[in-house]
């Protein structure tokens, strides 16, 4: 049975519970009802929403996470069941892994996955331009070669501790990303302005969409990490910092391109228009785009020789990290098909 993500992106909504359903009300009028057994997550992306404690209670029982995401896609808060952090063995291994070779291997796998997925997306973009835009096609393949060269540098990285090699890894990741975004800029429709990738304080459509999309993806990855019994804050590639969910940021790397970047490029190339007001994407456009990203998470890709929905693959990858940490079964990053 299909389960549903509830995205609340409208002012003045009250989220309440009636019998065993979540009820959305606006101005005392019921606008939507979803039974709890069908509910996957609640994502609140706007201000001026009220939520009843009964809903929170039921969500905790049903394992449904409630996330607050800002306009710009920044993840602000999450509410999840208290029992979710009861997986000691996995956590202990996760924290130990930082000091040994496992951390090194995982960090390399994340970066590898990210770059592989960038390559896949570029190839995918090139495929459709082979006929009608030879110049762009060649440009893309040029950059592909260069990214491949950069990628090879990873084979030489050796170390027994993640702190020794982090700088080298980040430098490779950064150089590849620079080339990658250079291509993306050329691929977007001409009328769309894209000054280059900006993470914070972006005030153009492309970056705003990217950031918002990553915000949605982030909440999904964080749920997956929690469900796998891992600690969100014990990452490898991303250094420790109080309040920084490094492991979520680590795992998100291999999904950014497939889930968000491709959706952004796709919707813009289809001619979908997004309005900005005061540097933020407008309410209506935001919901339209959120639907696209959620739709993308429902689409299927190959994983381990079988087809799974992307959201399922996300969960599987999180579990794989946990298995690797506990039992040493090799972690292979997810690479999408093209």
């Amino acid at each position: 049975m299909e389960s549903e993500s509830l995205v609340i992106s409208d002012y003045g909504i009250f989220i309440g519970k009636k019998s065993e359903r979540v009820v959305l009300k606006k101005k005392k009028e019921v606008i939507k009802e979803v039974p709890f057994f069908k509910l996957k997550e609640i994502l609140i992306t706007t201000s001026g929403v009220s939520i009843s404690s009964d809903v929170i209670r039921e969500c905790a029982k049903a394992g449904v996470q409630i996330d607050f995401v800002s306009y710009a896609g920044k993840h602000l808060a999450k509410l999840s069941a208290a029992g979710m952090s009861g997986t000691v063995k996995t956590r202990r291994e996760q924290l130990f892994a930082y000091e040994d070779e496992r951390g090194v291997k995982l960090a390399i796998a994340f970066v590898k996955g990210k770059i592989e997925n960038q390559l896949v997306l570029l190839k995918y973009l090139a495929k459709y331009r082979k006929r009608n835009n030879k110049k762009l096609y060649e440009f893309i393949y040029n950059q592909l070669d260069e990214i491949n060269k950069i990628k090879r540098g990873m084979n030489e990285i050796k170390g027994s501790n993640i702190d020794d090699i982090r700088q080298k890894l980040l430098s490779i990741e950064g150089r590849a990303a620079k080339k990658y975004w250079r291509v993306i800029k050329r691929v977007l429709p001409e009328e769309v302005e894209f000054p280059g990738r900006k993470t914070q304080g972006a005030d153009d459509v492309v970056n705003s969409l990217l950031n918002y999309g990553y915000g949605i993806l982030y909440s999904r990855v964080s749920t997956s990490v929690l469900r796998a019994g891992l600690d969100q804050y014990g990452g490898f590639l991303h250094a420790d910092r109080p309040g920084k969910p490094s492991l979520v940021l680590d795992l998100i790397e291999e999904f950014r391109q497939t889930v968000v970047d491709r959706t952004v490029i796709g919707t813009l190339n289809q001619g979908m228009k997004f309005k900005l007001s005061q540097g933020y994407i407008e309410d209506k456009s935001r919901r339209k785009f959120a639907d696209k990203v959620l739709e993308r998470l429902q689409s299927k890709e190959y994983h381990d020789g079988k087809k799974y929905r992307l959201e399922v693959i996300l969960q599987r990858q999180a579990r794989r990290i946990a298995t690797y940490l506990r039992e040493g079964k090799e972690y292979i990053p997810f690479v999408s098909g093209w």
């Binding site: 009636k18 019998s19 359903r21 709890f36």
Partner: protein, 86 residues
């Protein structure tokens, strides 16, 4: 599978509870005492158990019909009045 649930219950309190429970199982109201929706085998059994408990020893009648999608395609509807559904 599509499932049609109809009931005839005179006690207001129980009737309301039955209707609410139908909604909890993602069935939607198609007439005052008729609900329709897609529901899997397990959930359907769960629902009928719950309704049985609700009804208890009181007077009333609840019927549940699974409808296969082939037959569902033959569904027709005629309506002559303004919206009465919720």
């Amino acid at each position: 599978m599509h499932t049609l649930l109809i009931y005839d219950i005179s006690d207001d309190r129980i009737r309301n509870k039955v209707a609410e429970t139908c909604k909890d199982y993602a069935l939607r109201r198609i007439q005052w005492s008729a609900f329709l929706g897609k529901i899997n085998h397990n959930k359907r059994e769960e629902l009928i158990l719950k309704l049985g408990k609700l009804l208890g020893e009181k007077e009333g009648n609840i019927q549940l019909y699974p409808i296969c999608s082939k037959d569902m395609k033959l569904h027709r509807e005629l309506g002559r009045y303004a919206n009465v559904r919720d």
